[in-house]
């Protein structure tokens, strides 16, 4: 019943962008950066730069003290952001500020459940700020019904993950509860790890896509245009994170870092579009 409700009120920005891309025969490019990294001044300008460089959807990390699924790059981003004292309320303010100039690009917050549990009426506040979806790294569907219903009531999608170790039976259950899109984790490991086996991933994602209309995007370990293009062949899009976060770590001036984000994402965009 809760699932039906989730499907009843899908997020319109996410739905629209995937419909558009499908019509154009293009693949979704999803970027990830951590909010407030390396300091709050970098975030909103960085998001706009990513859109300018060709990102279709924006993932924005909610900094957390114990990011247990992240590799060293994104762990360090969390630590830099938290050192600046960032809060979830500030993250929502950043989204609202971004929305003043961009009312189209979907924004998906990504993080850990304890951050969201700590904010009263999170769904209402996030929706009001202009958030479209949520990825909770440590919230499998078995535990997610309550949050998914709260989000759906505010037209936000709870995006579930499927991993290489997820069984067929379980994948079907996850797909039946999915909203927004499905995030396929391309490798057994943490964010930013290397050695994605694009052929293996392709076989699995292809099989999964045959069972659902919901878009399926691939993430974890995608560092360059070539890998992105290869993985996009058998999926609806790719997520790029650690390679962008490394740019955040490098720079000291928001304008310079933003240009670097834009160039990096544009390069991957080009690779994807040549493939399509």
């Amino acid at each position: 019943m809760i699932t039906a409700e989730a499907h009843a009120r899908p997020n319109t920005r996410i739905k629209r962008i995937f419909a558009q891309l499908k019509e154009q025969g293009r693949k979704a490019l999803i970027s990830f950066i951590t909010a407030g990294d390396p300091s709050p001044a970098f975030t909103v300008v960085g998001l706009h730069a990513l859109v300018a460089g060709g990102a279709d959807l924006l993932e924005l990390g909610i900094p957390f003290s114990d990011p247990e699924a992240e590799g060293p790059t994104i762990q360090a981003a969390n630590e830099r952001a938290l050192a600046g004292g960032i809060t979830l309320k500030q993250v929502l303010n950043m989204v609202a500020e971004f929305r003043q100039q961009d009312d189209q690009t979907p924004i998906i917050l990504m993080g850990y459940l304890n951050s969201v549990l700590a904010m009263q009426d999170f769904a209402t506040k996030a929706s009001y700020a202009g958030v479209d979806g949520l990825i909770m790294v440590n919230l499998p569907p078995e535990e997610g019904n309550e949050l998914q219903a709260q989000l759906a009531a505010c037209s936000m999608d709870l995006i579930y993950l499927i991993a290489p170790t997820t069984t067929e039976v379980r994948a079907a259950e996850i797909i039946s509860k999915a909203s927004g899109f499905i995030y396929y984790v391309s490798l057994k490991g943490i964010t930013g790890a290397g050695n994605v086996r694009t052929d293996e991933v392709g076989i699995r994602t292809n099989a999964l896509r045959a069972t659902t209309e919901i878009p399926l995007c691939v993430g974890f370990g995608i560092r360059d245009a070539q890998t992105a293009a290869a993985l996009s062949e058998q999926s609806d899009g790719v997520v790029v994170g650690s390679v962008l976060v490394e740019k955040m770590a490098a720079g000291s001036d928001p304008a310079v870092v933003s240009q670097s984000l834009q160039d990096t994402i544009a390069d991957i965009r080009q690779g994807l579009d040549q493939q399509s």
Partner: protein
């Protein structure tokens, strides 16, 4: 007390690992399959005569069980109230109750055909217990330990290395136990095909809180039988220290249906609960999700996990096993705290009156005894889980006394 209790039929957790609103499984999707496999194997093995025989054999001949139940006469006389019985878990091989769990889980790892085990450790006791069984069973072993703890617990670090384990210092976050747990989870998610993660306490995602509790429950099973044999009755109260809470769950669990027996857990009060520098989430925390389960937790208004303080590295953890949260909320157990100073005071009493060197973790349970035994009747009996020995803490204690040993 809840109605479920009046019928003496405690049966937790549910099939999917919930203790009321607590527990559950909050992990990255990649781990779900391994947790399902582990739970299925455990549910099968716990009824398997051959597995039970193997476990019992090792607990008897390798670990040295049953451990004694000892009446601390001079301590009882000094405090002048209830009789104090100590369940001597310090006499286990490797010096703490932790090995009862690591033996059980390592045997399960072997059955799963996994040649490698990993563990997190704070004080080093669980790391040592894991390295020990890995050496015994011929498993590869990596132990994650916060850089800060590697420095504080150099004796245990060397001990693990002597047994062939690799000790990996963790430099992220606060560089203590919680960060070691994060790093072990990251290792496991990467190497899940050939690796079993031996979690050392009754926390983590389902089925760990149940599995670790069950393996530790030998403590309470023995103590209950020994008490009936020696005194002909059950104790008035069972006391144990609580960090993650494995020794406490181990001794509490076989007494849960004995409603006349009070269960008391003692958390690390650090410099005092009101200072904020403590590790007592059941006394002063809020419900949240960390390391795979929902439980009481020390987190701030924004959900960030707070840094904790305790004189004892083994209690220096911001969370607590979900079953303790459940027992607290239904009123079956109560949870108090003891400060660093109170634990040190009790530590000295046990050394001087009984010739027993307790771990600093255990000294928190003893501090409750020091404060409460005098107020109780001489007819009352306190059963304390003397969960570990204090050899590992000698440098810390000497440092407090202003003495440099090395």
């Amino acid at each position: 007390m809840s109605e479920a209790f009046e019928s003496n039929n405690y049966a937790q957790p549910t099939e999917d690992g919930h203790f009321g609103e607590f527990g559950g499984r909050f992990v990255a999707e990649t781990l779900t399959h391994a947790l399902d496999d582990f739970a299925a194997l455990y549910n099968q093995m716990k009824h398997d005569p051959e597995f039970k025989r193997e476990l019992h054999h090792d607990l008897t001949h390798y670990v040295g069980r049953p451990t004694p139940l000892y009446l601390a006469e001079r301590m009882t006389a000094e405090l002048g109230g209830a009789a104090i019985y100590l369940k001597r878990e310090d006499l286990n091989h490797t010096g703490a109750h932790k090995i009862c769990n690591t033996i059980g889980q390592a045997l399960l790892a072997k059955r799963m055909g996994k040649p490698r085990v990993i563990a997190e450790t704070g004080a080093g006791q669980h790391g040592v217990a894991t390295a020990t069984v890995a050496a015994r069973l011929g498993l590869e072993c990596d132990v994650y330990m916060g850089e800060e703890d590697v420095r504080r617990q150099s004796l245990n670090v060397y001990r693990m290395k002597l047994m062939g384990a690799r000790v990996i210092p963790v430099t992220s976050g606060s560089k203590t136990l919680k960060d070691a747990l994060n790093e072990a989870m990251r290792d496991w998610v990467t190497n899940v095909d050939n690796t079993h993660y031996i979690i050392g306490t009754v926390a983590g995602p389902h089925p760990y809180p149940m599995v670790v509790r069950d393996f530790a429950s030998i403590i309470g099973q023995e103590a209950r039988a020994q008490m009936l044999e020696q005194e002909g009755r059950l104790p008035s109260v069972v006391v144990a220290c609580v960090g993650g809470g494995s020794n406490a769950m181990g001794i509490f669990h076989p007494f849960i249906n004995d409603l006349e027996v009070d269960l008391v857990g003692v958390e690390a009060g650090g410099l005092g609960i009101d200072t904020g520098a403590h590790a007592a989430p059941l006394n002063n925390g809020k419900v949240g999700v960390l390391h795979g389960n929902r439980s009481y937790l020390m987190s701030d208004d924004d959900g960030q996990i707070m840094e904790t303080h305790s004189i004892s590295a083994g209690l220096d953890y911001p969370g607590v096993g979900p079953e303790h949260s459940y027992l607290k909320d239904i009123g079956r157990a109560t949870y108090s705290s003891a400060t660093d100073d109170e634990a040190m005071h009790a530590f000295r009493i046990l050394n001087q009156r009984e010739g027993i060197l307790p771990a600093l973790e255990t000294s928190h349970a003893l501090a409750w005894v020091v404060a409460n035994a005098p107020k109780m009747s001489k007819e009352d009996i306190i059963l304390v889980n003397l969960s570990g020995r204090g050899d590992k803490d000698i440098l810390t204690v000497a440092d407090i006394d202003g003495i440099t040993l090395i």
